[in-house]
Amino acid sequence: MQKNIMLFVAFLLSVSVFSQEDLEEVKINKKQKGIKKSYTLTANTSVITSKELLKAACCNLAESFETNPSIDVNFSDALTGTKQIKMLGLTSPYLMITEENIPSVRGASQAYGLSFTPGTWIESVQITKGAGSVINGYESISGQINTELLKPLNDIPFFLNAYGSTDSRFELNTHFNKKLSDKWATSLFVHGNARVAKNDMNNDGFLDNPLGKQINVLNRYQYYNPENGLVSFINFRYMNDKKQTGEVDFDKDRDRGTTNYWGSEINTERFDVSTKIGYVFKDMPYQSIGFQNAFNSHKQDSYYGLNQYDIKQNSFYSNLIFNSIINNTMHKFTTGLNFSYDQYQEFVNLTDVSRIDNSVGAFFEYTYDNTDNFSLILGGRVDNHNRLGIFITPRLHMRYNPWKNGVIRFSAGRGKRSANIFAENQQLFASSRTFSILDSSGKVYGLNPEIAWNYGVSFSQKFKLFNRNADAGFDLYRTDFQNQAIVDVMQSPQQVLFYDLKGSSFANSLQVEFNYELIHNLNLRTAYKYYDIQTDYLRGTFQRPLQAKHRFLGNLEYETDLNNDKQWRFDFTYNWSGKQQLPYTASNPAEDQFPDFSPAYAVMNAQVTRVFSSVFEVYVGGENIGNYKQQKAILGANDPFGPNFDASIAYAPIFGQMYYAGLRFKIK
């Protein structure tokens, strides 16, 4: 009961109306599902629970979406091993990615930020498709991803996870937790990973995965006092990540800055401090006030061959939120203020493109719930930003249950952002392309802010099929860009052009889902996705490069019933990706060309977990067990300083099959 009250308070305080109800749902069920979909939430939000995260290797947040139908995982390039996520066919810059409702992956951390959150730290992930809430900002266009980390007051005293794989990656996660008093608790998470050996499975002379080392430490404190309704979190975090990639023979001490061998290093150091304080009014559980502050410093020093790219971002974010009701809890509102400050020190091949951004904004979000079958969230915010100007961001979500176990949702909203064109597209530095910005009148690298409207409808229905649980549904979204910072690789293989959208650009997506419990404890999840993402380029209209038009996901999970805390769990995931438009390379010599479209391919992953007791479990698994490899991954690999070199065109796995094993040990 105590725990429930605490959860309830935590849930009231949690900033967005969306995540509130999720938390409640995730906690109450004993046998929880991996992905939870709600039939009563207003927005199209699904929750990935920690159980789902155990289904795959899931070393970090970027890798935790492989079994999720809403999010597509792609490879960002042929060198860094970085996985890139997309929602509704748009890459992560168009998503708002937050950690405990504080914007986390943005600006300088856009390319690699998702790999800086270790998987074992995560309690749950909430994924909202479409416009999303206005509470955390104006930047989200196609969706929001919020990660909740483990809470010190609920955590176990000790947790250990060790992992090793055949691509010579090793990880160690240790969690320590201590209850300092009945109101204070603290957790210390220490994560280390390393890739120690060089792999070149496709024999092109280049590493398939970077050598790397990461140390990542989080210390957090939680305070909760049920008598006066005060809750607080204080977090300190330090992260240091080093990667080296490029030619197998590249020696960073000897060859950096020369044309002996092509190589690259990406070194990132990050420091975060964040605090949250929340207060629930006495005798008024529906009224609360929250105040969040976060400071972070993110520094990346890197070079890709002879291209040097350094960026440092110092950010401050502050958010004051007040939740209450109008007359009764059928009419709720959330209102407050945001402030953000970003100082970028950015050097592209020693050209200084530094800038300072700041914004202040106010938001108001009204929620109506008839407590039965209809709810609505209407939100708006006004911001004053030194580069984006003064602007309004409206968002609307509606939900209607026409009959039992069926739900129809609608959403619409506007998003606006400044594109950090270099940080977001830094994989292009690993090529001989010259970078040109064709516009100069805008305020962000000469470009204007990106503005888009997103609309969506979805329907989902639960039912019984042969007396077993099933659900089916579809969703349909459209994103219309009024302006977009176009990244054009369709004109010449020696160039990348950046310019403001001249014609039209849109992204349509359709997802059809069917999930079914085939036999007791054996669950099937399937999804088909169709994307039509077209952009008018300088010359020609094309599908967005490296985006499949058709995708299919299948996941099978089986688990035995718990027997004296012992259990077997089996998982199999099948991901099929149709042909993808590739960047234009037809003017290159024949051996350095790609066809217009990539071939279709499938990737299969599997994992077996053996739970020996509530204390100890072991897992083994394989990724890409069909061993599909992109045959030609790097153009001009034999002449990396020549005009045709390009390592940024990755449409499929480079490495081939990979096997891993790990263990988890808990002291409760």
Partner: protein
């Protein structure tokens, strides 16, 4: 002397009377309401929200407890009980009329005490 005592008593009573009339804007009130199912829950909560001054209302299917926060300046617990009874559900304080009870959906016809 008697007079003084009388005055003192009057003052005292006056105070307590005043204390009684000071109305709680966030009164927590809980009572037992008879019902069966999710449909009852919706009906009971809807009836509670229909009373001006009720800020939040939750009825628990298994324990039959209705928990409410209400503004005493706008309504009283007895207004709430009457509204719930009008919707067809017996509360500890007010019983529903037979007509209102008979109007309930068949699955909602709880066993009356």
């Amino acid at each position: 002397m008697n007079k003084i005592v009388l005055i003192a008593m009057m003052v005292f009573l006056g105070f307590s009377a005043q204390a009684q009339t000071k109305k709680n804007k966030n009164l927590k009130y809980a009572t037992e309401v008879n019902g069966n199912c999710e449909q009852c829950k919706k009906r009971i909560e809807k009836a509670a929200y229909g009373v001006p001054g009720v800020k939040t209302a939750t009825w628990d299917v298994s324990s039959h407890q209705l928990s409410v926060i209400l503004n005493e300046e706008k309504c009283s617990p007895s207004d709430l009980n009457k509204a719930i009874a009008k919707a067809g559900h017996d509360t500890k304080e007010v019983k529903a009329t037979d007509t209102d009870y008979d109007n309930l959906h068949s699955c909602c016809k709880y066993v009356r005490e």
